[in-house]
């Protein structure tokens, strides 16, 4: 009988994804492109958040990569506003990964300093597990989803660089316990700013845009 030998491997299965993500970041940074990974549940208002934010940009051209399981509806919304947009259809996959994003980024002109939004698949679980080369993560949550979300999806809230709390115009009509939401968020992520916004009224997006532009400058 042949000898059996043990070989120590100690390799993260995501290692290859993380290396590609690092390459994407290293490509974008010197071109003065600041990449924002936009995460949130389906219907949280990720597309609306991008649309409402870019209106307030003073010094950055917006670029968008739309990730969807199918359809190019969101990309058409962006292009109608004159925003250079690439659509990725994952055909069922639950998140974007670094190789998909690297290929999409290659298709964009990126010829002026700007902020590149990558709208991830609507899902609070898998997107949080994959780095895609972003400089910041924007997590879009809503008062209608409920205040327990940091407790149910801790990784997404932990990794967020900023939390956008959308649909705040509906606060009088829903039982959103803001103190409970913030207690959970702060345990996971003491530093991330929270922007209370409403895509319907436009409230809060000037502040979010200013924060993103200051991060892009840093």
């Amino acid at each position: 009988m042949a000898d059996i030998r043990r070989i120590s491997v100690q390799e993260a299965v995501h290692g290859e994804n993380d290396r590609i993500a690092e390459g994407v970041r290293a490509n974008l940074t010197p071109r003065r492109i600041f990449m924002v990974n936009v995460m949130g549940a389906p219907g949280a208002g990720k597309t609306s958040t991008i649309v409402s934010t870019v209106r307030h940009f003073q010094e950055n051209r917006p670029y968008v990569v739309e990730g969807d399981i199918e359809s190019d509806l969101d990309a058409r919304t962006m292009r109608a506003l004159g925003i250079e947009t690439i659509q990725i259809n994952t055909g069922g996959a639950c998140h974007l990964d670094a190789p998909l994003v690297a290929a999409a980024v290659e298709e964009l002109s990126l010829d002026a300093k700007g902020i590149l939004f990558i709208e991830n698949i609507g899902n609070l679980v898998c997107p949080a597990e994959f780095t895609i080369g972003e400089h910041a993560i924007l997590l879009v949550s809503t008062v209608t989803e409920g205040s327990d979300k940091p407790y149910k999806y801790p990784l997404a809230f932990e990794k967020a660089s900023a939390v956008v709390l959308n649909k705040c115009d509906l606060l009088p009509y829903v039982d959103f316990d803001e103190a409970f939401f913030l207690k959970g968020l702060r345990a996971l992520n003491p530093a991330a700013p929270v922007f209370k916004v409403s895509s319907r009224t436009g409230e809060g997006f000037a502040e979010l845009a200013a924060w993103l532009e200051s991060r892009a400058r840093a």
Partner: protein
């Protein structure tokens, strides 16, 4: 559902290491899978045989160690498993902070012959 490409990657890593060591085949692959890794050990099992076909990993046994998520108390320093809808330490009531424990998704070692 996203275990399929991950399982292909596991096979690729194990196969490459076995070849580099001049082995004839992989007998066993040890994986650490944390509960917060987003991966399910059973699903890796499900995809393993088709992914391993035609590689040095064909017929190998998968040994998966499941790792539970732990937080660390900012007050008393204890590591603890959280109770639902809370991040508070069950020992002292202090606020818990996230740790890396439970995020593992690693090929730990392989047995080859």
């Amino acid at each position: 559902m996203h275990e399929y490409p991950a399982t292909l990657r596991i096979v690729e890593v194990a196969d490459a290491r076995a070849r580099a060591a001049g082995a004839r085949r992989v007998v066993r692959i040890r994986l650490d899978v944390g509960d917060a890794s987003g991966y399910v050990g059973d699903s890796v099992h499900l995809y393993f045989d088709p992914c391993a076909a035609g590689t040095l990993c064909e017929g190998a046994e998968l040994e998966i160690r499941r790792i539970r998520v732990k937080m660390r108390c900012r007050s008393c320093g204890d590591l603890f498993e959280r109770i639902p809808l809370s991040f508070d330490c069950p020992a002292c009531g202090g606020e818990g902070e996230p740790t890396r424990i439970g995020r593992e998704f690693d090929v730990v070692s392989i047995d080859v012959e």
